[in-house]
Symmetry: C2
Subunit: 398 residues, 2 copies
Amino acid sequence: MNFSKRITSMQESPIRKLVPYAQGAKAQGKKVYHLNIGQPDIETPDSFMESIRSFDEKVLAYSLSQGMPELIDAMINYYKKYDMDFEQDDILITNGGSEALLFSIIAVADAEDEILVPEPFYTNYNGFSSAVDVKVASITCKAEDGFHLPDKKTIEEAINPKTKAFVLSNPGNPTGVVYTAEEVQMLADLAREYNLFIIADEVYREFVYDGLGYTSFGNIKEVEDRVIIVDSVSKRYSACGARIGSIASKNKELMKQILKLCQGRLCVPTLEQIGAIELYKTPEDYFESVNKEYEKRRNIVYESLNDIPGVLCKKPTGAFYVNAKLPVDDAEKFTIWMLKEFDVDGETVMLAPSEGFYATKGLGKDEARIAYVLNENDLKKAMNILKKAIENYPNRTI
Amino acid sequence: MNFSKRITSMQESPIRKLVPYAQGAKAQGKKVYHLNIGQPDIETPDSFMESIRSFDEKVLAYSLSQGMPELIDAMINYYKKYDMDFEQDDILITNGGSEALLFSIIAVADAEDEILVPEPFYTNYNGFSSAVDVKVASITCKAEDGFHLPDKKTIEEAINPKTKAFVLSNPGNPTGVVYTAEEVQMLADLAREYNLFIIADEVYREFVYDGLGYTSFGNIKEVEDRVIIVDSVSKRYSACGARIGSIASKNKELMKQILKLCQGRLCVPTLEQIGAIELYKTPEDYFESVNKEYEKRRNIVYESLNDIPGVLCKKPTGAFYVNAKLPVDDAEKFTIWMLKEFDVDGETVMLAPSEGFYATKGLGKDEARIAYVLNENDLKKAMNILKKAIENYPNRTI
């Protein structure tokens, strides 16, 4: 009675596996600043709960497998602001961005096929792929380049006949990189030349700073039949617990195929969809204030990091993450050390070590992801503790 | 740019694929009695919405990947009534019974492995398996036997080295069969002899009629390490739109493996879990009244069917389905004919043709599933229409 190879070979979530150490620190009475998870502290718009509270059907029935038409309509309107023009059957509502990714990968890749992913990447791309026997091949991006893409030739060399799709997040998790219009165009060109899909995880679309422009893969006309856009209300509206995601594509035959998977799991929760309809109607000024807040935090984290000798970190311009090279032997050991053995006045910090964000063995060992999801004061305290921790860590490398 | 073989080979939901014909009938002004889907009309207990309405956190945050401890506690108490004794880490909360099935199949079977399923079966067993390259092998059960299992030797012959698990629903969808204690014991014995898991879909556990006893696979001590129990609030509490399911198993190593899949999709919706906690605390007398209602309906359907010449249907004793042999050439054609060309005073009926519930080609062509999820009056009208439809169908076989 054995478990499947695909499940035993699946790696544990590198973001969640250090949780027991955090629990241990708390049990010792330490306060832990969580810079390790992307759980924003921004308030969820009230409209979400208000609409759910007024639900008064006597029977909580199945919804449609593709999602509620009203929610799809609200998303169609949302996309128009970004010059994307979708129809009802171009959008499927999913259980979070997670299910959107899983279904997209199943739809384009068979067992033993490959997806090509710029690394470091959102670790669950790897998890979902392992679960369905798809191999993750990677395009290595470097801290020194602010995690922008390498040149076309380098990417081309990573493509082989098994490659079925690019999968990437833009703005990037864990890097905070925002790809330039030229980078987006380069991947689009490669997708056409090598007949690939592009699974574009754009759940952080709004979180772009410094007045930078943003190019969605949904804006490149000539690849509209090969682009699959993954979205979610989790980060966009600080509603991680709603688990409402979506797949959008103008490839109608692809959408018909993915609909079969949606029918298999019957539907997405009715109430959460009712709430999400209102979220997608949130006025634009919501993002203005939220972005101002995140940009301020980004500045705190970026400036604090550059104030620590030996840290390498180019200024990230999107999402709410920084992936920094630290002057330590091993970021996982360092994180455990901070939780077990270090504190400043009874307070310490938890990071997400980056090794698990790479497919290439050995990379990311001295890197960690910092999520700037705490308020300004807490963030300043946390960064100060991090600085002192690096100064005091026995195995620092400078 | 091709789609994966696994998605193109996945069959469309046989329950949902005739929906366009129903829409057509409605567009013509016909009333359609839906006997085709398992959407109960029973009211969801008020406690569900009441608890959700009182949620007042400012941020709708991620829940734990394994599910809320309070919900798991409520389920532990629920299982005690059935003499099943689970601990916190024996239960994982999932996005409906659907995700519970998908994760269980991924955990026990690799690509090209097989699961062994009594047919006719819940069609999504097939859907999920195709999506992850697992083959469905079947044990044929017959209308003449009330869809009870064949003898041990027949089942044994269907087991081969690729077989990893039995997957079955008990009480049965689409058959309404409730396996006897001897049948449950026989499968348990086979699972031990051939080193198999048992994925026991027991979402209809409460819906057993005629005062019959019920044996859960969770009651067979000697297979407790190989039993995976799938549950859901959908049918139990008429809360299909909540999408709260679960996996329960005393195999702690297995649960650790499946937890990795749960971590990959982060969590199940927070609000729906809050509602489900209250559902699992629903007093027992809820089931007494609900069961009385379903038993009455079962009797109406069973007696009406046996009043139609040429119909074969043994009395089903559980769930809320009947799978009947009809005197027609092809139940799918017959269903389409009822929707397109037949009515009694502007009213017609929709069934779920059973061919898609079989893995063996050719079986089930003259069978259909009837879900008795309508009130007494509507059900009587619908069964009367069905009788007249069979009398008038040009391709009936008697």
